[in-house]
Symmetry: C2
Subunit: 353 residues, 2 copies
C-alpha cells in the first residue's frame, strides 16, 4: 500500500501544458448521471436537477496540512479527496451526482503522479456513481493543493440538517471510531523511525484496518440506503470529520439542545484499542477527538428505536437532553464528565491532536 514497486517513467508536466493536461486527465470520462448535461470542456459544466433540490459542499486539501506525500499514495489521495466531499453530501441525506476537482501542482510533480491521482478520483467516482464535470488546473509555488466541490440531489422533504435534534432523540453513529486517527499516529511513528534509521522500511503488518481508515476512508452510502429501507429520517446528521465530540457539539449547538453519551457504547474496533494501548493512548480519547472517520453521526426519534436497534452498522451511544448548556459523557465507572470539542482544528495545528 505504501510503496510503488513498479515506478513508471517520469514525464514532465510542461510537455503537455495546461489544456493538454486537463484533456489528458479527463479524456476517458463518460458521464453517468442524467443530471449531468455537459461536463469538462466549456466555461462551466451544465446540470439539470428538474424538481429536486441540490446540495453543494467543498473541501480544500493542502499538502503538509492534510496529507503527507511521504506515506500517502497519490491514488489513495485522489480517492480520499472525493470521498470526504461526498461524505458531506450523505450527511445531508442526499445523493452525490457530480464533482469538480481543481488542483495546483508544482513542476516537481510528474504526469504519471497526476495520472495516479486521477485514477483514484475516477475510482471513487465510479464506486459512488459521481460524474467529474469540471475543475481547474494550475501551478503551485509549493506543494500539491486539491479543491473538490461535490453536488448532490435530494427531495426537499428528505433533507436532514444539523439543527433539528430534539429532547429524547437517540444519538447514533455508524461503523466505528478512532481508526483513522490511529492510522495517522502509526504512519507518523513509522515516518520518524524511517527518518531516524535512514531508510529502514516500516513494518505495518497487522495494521491494515487503521491504515485503510486513514488512507482510504469510505463514505456511508449504505447508511443512507438503510434509512430509506427501514423508513427512518434522522432528525439531525453530520459526518464525523473533526471527531465525535466536536461533531456532536455542532448538532447540539445548532439544535439548541444538550446531550449525554456513554463511553462504553462508543464503537471502537479491537485493533484500534490494542494499537492505542501499545502507543499509550486512551482509545476513547482517540474516538472522541481523532476525527476523519467519515462515519455518520445522527439523531433519531425515540419512537424509531425498534427500527434501528438490530441494524449492525449503527450503534446507539446516548440521547439528546433539553438542557442546552449540558454536554456530558458518562465513563465506564459511571462518572460524569463535560464533553468538550477537542477535534482537529485546521487553523491551530497542522496535524490531528
Amino acid at each position: 500500500m505504501l510503496e510503488d514497486k513498479n515506478p513508471k517513467p517520469v514525464s514532465e508536466l510542461s510537455q503537455l501544458g495546461e489544456f493538454g493536461l486537463i484533456k489528458h486527465l479527463t479524456e476517458n470520462i463518460v458521464l453517468q448521471n442524467k443530471s449531468s448535461v455537459k461536463g469538462v470542456g466549456d466555461d462551466a459544466a451544465v446540470l439539470h436537477y428538474k424538481n429536486k433540490q441540490t446540495v453543494v459542499t467543498t473541501d480544500l486539501l493542502v499538502e503538509g496540512v492534510h496529507f503527507d506525500l511521504l506515506y500517502t499514495p497519490l491514488k489513495h489521495l485522489g480517492y480520499k479527496a472525493v470521498v470526504v466531499n461526498i461524505s458531506d453530501v450523505y450527511a445531508m441525506n442526499a445523493h452525490p451526482k457530480q464533482i469538480t476537482v481543481s488542483i495546483a501542482v508544482s513542476n516537481k510533480m510528474s504526469i504519471e503522479g497526476l495520472e495516479d491521482l486521477y485514477e483514484g478520483i475516477a475510482l471513487a467516482c465510479n464506486i459512488y456513481g459521481v460524474d467529474l464535470v469540471g475543475g481547474d488546473t494550475t501551478s503551485s509555488t509549493s506543494g500539491l493543493i486539491i479543491s473538490v466541490t461535490a453536488i448532490g440531489e435530494v427531495e426537499a422533504k428528505d433533507i436532514v440538517y444539523r439543527n433539528e435534534a430534539k429532547e429524547h432523540d437517540l444519538i447514533c453513529v455508524s461503523g466505528d471510531l478512532g481508526g483513522a486517527f490511529m492510522g495517522l499516529q502509526l504512519l507518523e511513528r513509522e515516518k520518524l523511525v524511517f527518518n531516524e534509521t535512514k531508510g529502514i522500511q516500516p513494518d505495518f503488518s497487522g495494521h491494515d484496518y487503521v491504515l485503510e481508515r486513514q488512507l482510504k476512508p469510505e463514505p456511508r452510502q449504505d447508511v443512507i440506503q438503510m434509512f430509506e429501507e427501514i423508513g427512518i429520517k434522522p432528525t439531525a446528521m453530520i459526518d464525523v470529520s473533526d471527531g465525535l465530540s466536536s461533531d456532536l457539539l455542532h448538532i447540539c449547538h445548532q439544535s439548541e439542545v444538550g446531550c449525554v453519551i456513554y463511553e462504553d457504547k462508543i464503537p471502537i474496533d479491537f485493533t484500534v484499542v490494542s494499537l492505542a494501548q501499545e502507543m499509550n493512548l486512551d482509545p476513547t480519547v482517540c474516538a472522541l477527538n481523532g476525527g476523519e472517520d467519515y462515519e455518520l453521526l445522527f439523531t433519531i426519534k425515540l419512537e424509531d428505536y425498534e427500527k434501528i436497534k438490530d441494524q449492525k452498522r449503527v450503534t446507539i451511544i446516548g440521547h439528546i437532553t433539553a438542557d442546552k448548556e449540558n454536554y456530558t459523557i458518562v465513563d465506564k465507572n459511571e462518572q460524569v464528565h463535560k464533553l468538550v470539542a477537542q477535534g482537529w482544528n485546521a487553523l491551530l495545528n497542522n496535524k490531528n491532536e
Copy 2:
C-alpha cells in the same frame, strides 16, 4: 488603491480557531436568491433551481502564481476571485446565483487581512446578486490559496456553449483588450523599482485604467442583459481569460471551424496603447496574448448584424470560416498571419508572458 493608509490592529487567527473564523467571516451574510435554500453552517448548502438548468464553474487562485500580495490589496483580491468565476457563468449566457469560497491561509495572515478579503468577496456578491453559501477554511504551509466555485441558472434553450460557431458567423468581443496585461506589466515594473531603490513609492498616476483592469476586473453582466434586450443568442461564447487568440482558438477547435480577425478592429484603449509603446511592447500582441480581461468573446449569426452593429459595448473583429485548419489575423498592412495561442499557460509560467 495600492496601499492601506489606515492599517488596522493585527489579530491572530489562532484566537478564533477554524469554526470561530468561519462564523466571524460569514455572520453578516443574508441570502438574497430564492434558489438559495440554506447557506453556510451545515455539511452542505442546499439550492433549489426548480426547472432551470444549473451551471457550475470553479477556479483556484494561488499566491505567487495568480497574485502577488505585495501589490494586490486583499479586498481587491477577494473581489477578483469572485468575479473571475461569475465571468465563466456569464460566458454560458447564465445568471450567477451562488458561490462557495474555500481558503487556505498561513498563520502570518491576520484576521483583519481576512476581513478585507471577505469584504471584497461580499462586495462582488452584492453587486452581482450572488449568495455566498459555503466553503472551507484551513491552514496553508505556504501562501494564500483561494478556491471559488460559482453556480448559476439558465433556461435550457438559452445556454451558449463554445462549440456551435458556424461559417459566416461574426466574431465579436465586448469592451477592450490588453488592459489587464498592461496593468500587470506596470505593477511588475514598479515592484522592481521599489525593490531596487529600497522602498521609493511607485508612481501610478495616469494609469488608473490599466490598474483597475488588472486588480478589479468587472464581468460583463451588462452584455448578457443586452443579448436579452436586443434578442440575440450567440452561437458560441467564452470569456477572455487566457487571451483573445487562445480563447478564440478554443471556440474554433470546439466548433470545428476556422476564423479571420482583423488587427485594426481589435478594441484597445488608448491608455493601453500609450503605455505599451512606452514599455516597448506591441499593443496588439498584448491584446491577443495578455488575457485576464474577462471580456466576452462570442460569435453571432450574420443575420443578427443589424441588431448588434450600433451596440457601443461590442466590437465585430472578424468572422468564422469553414476551413478548420485556418486561423488567421490580417494586420494593419493587410498582411495575413497565422493566429497562434500564446496566452497565459498556468503550468509553464508563473506570470503572463
